[in-house]
Amino acid sequence: MSTLPPIELVEGVDPVATPRRIALVRPDRRPAVRTTDEKYVMTFPNLILREVILFQLVVIGLALAAILFDAPLEGIANPLETPNPAKAPWYFLGLQELLHYFPPVVAGVLMPALVVIALVVIPYARINQTAGPLWEGAGPQRPLTLAAAGGAVVALFAAFRCWPIAVPTAGVLLAMFAARGGAGAGRVRRALTKVTLPEWIMVWFAIVATILTVIGTFFRGPGWSFVWPWTRAVAF
């Protein structure tokens, strides 16, 4: 026992950012490796069977879709005959919709690059480690900061007449403020009070991405003009 190296404590580490556990083991006791009252079940058959069933359901669902709906095939490619509008596949139509408002470098390169960088950074950005809701322990300047930052984003997109982003951004901002002091309010507002800042940002991103994609897919016709979806067919 006496051959154990002396215990060394690392100081100056932010305990919120990097929690460390210290175990003190009394020499007369064997350390338990891990005790938990969580219930464990055998992987086979419990998990494996579920996986097999899931796979079969996906196969069945896709087979039904393949029987009911045919993949589109238009005329042979002709570089001399540009369809109007010429559209990318649906998952890029959000970007193509951005092209309508911003110069190509911004819509086609800068914005997608920022999205990918933002996604990669998520787990390493050490903000809000305690996962506290947005307004928890907020000082008097937090509403001001948020209103200023949010207002600036809305103003920026409005300046480019990019309403599909400006309007939902304003909406999310309103919801954020509705969450403030929503503790005693109805179910929806009470639920909103629990949302953390990173969650608000991701919700905002998901809403904006969905709206842009839907507009680009269903509401854009010749010359990228606004059309109603029922006036033209959409090919996937």
Binding site: T43, N46, V58, I67, A107, P123
Partner: protein, 254 residues
């Protein structure tokens, strides 16, 4: 007299020497055998022998990663079959689409299945990312697996996109023209990157060949490699993480 039920036939088959040389564990329903099922199998042993019961709940993962994985497997299977009929050249590529539709048995079904599985995979992957985010499952120790996930998302999109050109119809040609024109706008490298990708300045026969190689070799290999890392890491990082547990307010403590 022995009854010849299907069950007894299987049981006898599974007791033969030949069968036991492949699958070593016996047929008795013991937990020992249940463990052996998992760790004597190369493919199943990405699983631990036991899992937390909670993780089997639907709301834990919504099975979204599993759906994306199922799509990937279906895409490989249908994709290999499609390769038997497809020539990456102009105008034969387009004719092959027509052959699939009118000549090949179940050719259209095969093509439909590949296409819908591709769309579903993009969709499921996105939703999977959202579920991981809102469950805060990107937090330590899972940071790296999240990054692997982002790579998987990009590879999935690229696979879908390179595949989009292969039918060589108007939809394919102009869809890819629009996209690669956007890439051109990247400062400094844009033009060069586009030239490299297309094998020329416009979407042409060279582009078709390059997209074909990317779609059928380079990207699937990348996807399967990254997928292996991803799923291995799920286990190494302690299994799936469900909805955040630690309740914040006192009133929420169960």
């Amino acid at each position: 007299m022995t009854t010849l039920s299907l069950d007894s036939v299987f049981r006898r088959l599974r007791d033969t020497d030949a069968w036991r040389s492949v699958v070593r564990h016996g047929t008795a329903s013991t937990n020992r055998n249940r463990s052996l099922v998992v760790f004597e199998n190369l493919f199943l042993h990405v699983h631990p022998v036991k899992v937390r019961e909670k993780t089997l709940r639907f709301t834990h993962t919504y099975w979204l990663g599993g759906i994306a994985l199922a799509c990937a497997l279906i895409l490989v299977a249908t994709g290999v079959l499609l390769m038997f009929y497809y020539h990456p050249s102009v105008p034969q590529a387009y004719r092959d689409m027509k052959e699939l539709e009118f000549v090949v048995d179940n050719g259209l079904f095969l093509r439909n299945m590949h296409r819908w599985a591709a769309h579903l995979m993009v969709f499921a992957t996105f939703l999977h990312m959202m579920r991981v985010f809102f469950h805060r499952a990107y937090r330590p120790p899972r940071q790296f697996n999240w990054v692997v996930g982002v790579v998987l998302l990009c590879v999935t999109l690229l696979l879908s996109y390179t595949g989009y050109l292969l039918p060589w119809d108007q939809l394919a040609f102009w869809g890819v023209s629009v996209g690669t024109n956007m890439a051109k706008e990247a400062p400094l490298v844009g033009e060069k990157a586009r030239f490299l990708l297309l094998g020329g300045n416009i979407v042409s026969e060279n582009a078709l060949l390059r997209f074909y190689v990317l779609h059928c070799v380079v990207l699937p290999v990348a996807l399967l490699l990254m997928l292996s890392v991803h799923i291995w890491r799920v286990r190494k990082d302690g299994g799936v993480q469900g909805p955040p547990e630690a309740p914040r307010g006192k009133e929420e403590v169960r």
